[in-house]
């Protein structure tokens, strides 16, 4: 009896010592399972941030004080060295700035000498490419900017390489742009080296533009850089369009056709710049056909820059005529930058 009683008491004693640990272990394991399966841990941790945040703050205090003191105790010599270095850099930079401002002034003066038509003030806007359509009959881009961000029909598109095309349709949030290489597109260009004017037509191929009807006596060579001439007002002047790659006589043997490689990266990039100089467009656009007193028959590409600029005040002084001259210009602007005949 005594033995049995002793053994039971021993059993109960061992049970009494192991029961709490069993309970605690079971509780911990239940918690872990609940955390792992049910994701309750996240909620609990979220609630407990008022405990954990101060703990983290305290724990990171040594590192913070160390960094702060290291900055605070920087040696005087180091600071002097740094100061001298910065002074030198500042001097160099300000010298450069002075030179740049001198160049800018000179540039301004030269532009004024050239005449007002080139002094466009450009409005620039970045737009993302939403969709690309490059096939032999359609070369278009859909941009993720529309009339809500101020895009207007006729704005020119450029990228880092050069001119890409122009906006032809504007929706509320999207707009469509016609690329330089679209078979329906033409852009007035100028040979940068000689100033020779020409029109570059798209061919439906992303790597080629055609410049037909160049006189055989004209000064143009392979390797010549083509830039926008700004005539017609649709494209601002001076942006690279392409490089002449080949010259050959056309079917009549009277003119030369130049082939050019476009400067813009049609097959690369997801962002384009929209630029506009629309206020100037309204001034230069060809007048309404019913007013025959203006040289409307002459294509805009052949109007010298001086007459184009001389025209400006004439249209400006007659505000009553302005709406009538504007409307056709908007509907069928600048013959040179529009569809092929």
């Amino acid at each position: 009896m005594a033995f049995a009683g002793k053994s039971t008491s021993r059993l109960s004693e061992s049970a009494a010592t192991t029961l709490p640990i069993m309970a605690y272990m079971a509780l911990a394991i239940c918690l872990m399972v609940a955390d792992h399966r049910g994701g309750y841990g996240e909620q609990i941790r979220h609630r407990a941030t008022w405990i954990t945040e101060p703990m983290w703050w305290l724990a990171s205090a040594p590192t913070r004080t160390y960094n702060a003191s290291r900055e605070g105790l920087a040696l005087r010599g180091q600071l002097q060295d740094e100061n001298a270095h910065l002074h030198r850099e500042l001097e160099i930079s300000s010298a450069r700035l002075n030179r740049l401002s001198a160049v800018a002034e000179e540039n301004q003066r030269l532009r004024q000498l050239l005449g007002g038509t080139r002094g466009y003030r450009l409005n620039v806007q970045l737009a993302g490419v939403f969709d690309v359509d490059l096939d032999p009959y359609r070369q278009r881009l859909v941009l993720d900017a529309g009339s809500d961000t101020g895009v207007q029909v006729g704005q020119a598109l450029i990228d880092s390489g050069g001119v890409l095309g122009q906006v032809v349709e504007v929706g509320a949030h999207r707009s469509t742009a016609l690329l330089l290489t679209d078979p329906d597109h033409a852009v007035p260009v100028q040979v940068a080296r000689t100033g020779l004017r020409a029109i570059a037509y798209g061919t439906g191929r992303s790597d080629r533009l055609d410049l037909p009807n160049i006189p055989q006596s004209a000064d143009i060579r392979t390797g010549d850089l083509l830039v926008t001439s700004g005539i017609g007002g649709r494209f601002p002047a001076g942006f690279p369009v392409g490089t002449v790659t080949e010259l050959h006589p056309d079917a009549t043997r009277l003119f030369v056709v130049a082939e050019a490689q476009p400067a813009a990266h049609f097959e690369r990039g997801l962002e384009v710049l929209l630029i506009s100089n629309l206020p100037v467009v309204t001034d230069i656009g060809p007048p309404a056909p019913k007013h025959a007193q203006n040289p409307a028959i002459v294509p805009a590409s052949q109007i010298p820059a001086s007459t184009a600029s001389a025209q400006k005040p004439a249209t400006q002084v007659s505000p009553t005529q302005k709406p009538t001259t504007q409307k056709p210009a908007a509907r069928e602007p600048a013959a040179t930058s529009e569809k092929k005949p």
């Binding site: 010592t17 640990i21 911990a28 872990m32 609990i44 941790r45 703990m55 724990a59």
Partner: protein, 161 residues
């Protein structure tokens, strides 16, 4: 005569242990940090079993889980197991010489790492880095110093009372 050390000493040291668990360390060293909290729980279970037991170990572990963002209950389980083992062998551990005591604590910490590895295996988390196995060794090396230091502090506070 009240021999139990004051509560602030116990809980203050545990708080320090919690802070040490989240002290920012370089990435490679972080896994090998000694489990100071386990050493503290072992010490207090050994020296003042009336005030520190399984319950304290469990609560401390839960707090550590919250602070270190380990699975909720993991460190609670580890500390409870450790406290239980220390309680079991308390009489023997207390009268071991220092080096033997340190060895025993090292074994307890190794057991702790095995529990961690097991939990990670079950939960499906990544296997702990090999440097984490240095943690028991460091903890073992730390034990005698911590023991002496805490004994000194405890004596001081008792004398002041």
């Amino acid at each position: 005569m009240n021999r139990a050390p004051t509560g602030w000493l116990i809980y203050g040291s545990l708080l320090l242990g919690l802070l040490f668990a989240v002290l920012p360390l370089p990435a490679g060293v972080s896994e090998a940090r000694p489990y100071l909290l386990a050493l503290l729980i072992a010490y207090w279970t050994m020296e003042s079993p009336l005030s520190v037991g399984l319950g304290t170990a469990f609560v401390t572990g839960l707090l550590a889980d919250l602070v270190t963002a380990s699975p909720l209950g993991e460190q609670a389980l580890r500390l409870v197991v450790l406290a239980f083992l220390v309680q079991r062998f308390r009489a023997r551990l207390r009268f071991f010489p220092f080096w033997q005591q340190a060895l025993a604590v090292g074994l307890l910490l190794l057991n702790d790492r095995i529990i961690v590895a097991f939990v990670h295996l079950v939960v499906g988390a990544a296997w702990p880095a090999w440097t984490s196995w240095l943690s028991p060794v460091l903890g073992m090396a730390l034990w005698p110093w911590m023991f002496v230091l805490l004994d000194l502090v405890r004596l001081r506070s008792r004398e002041r009372n």
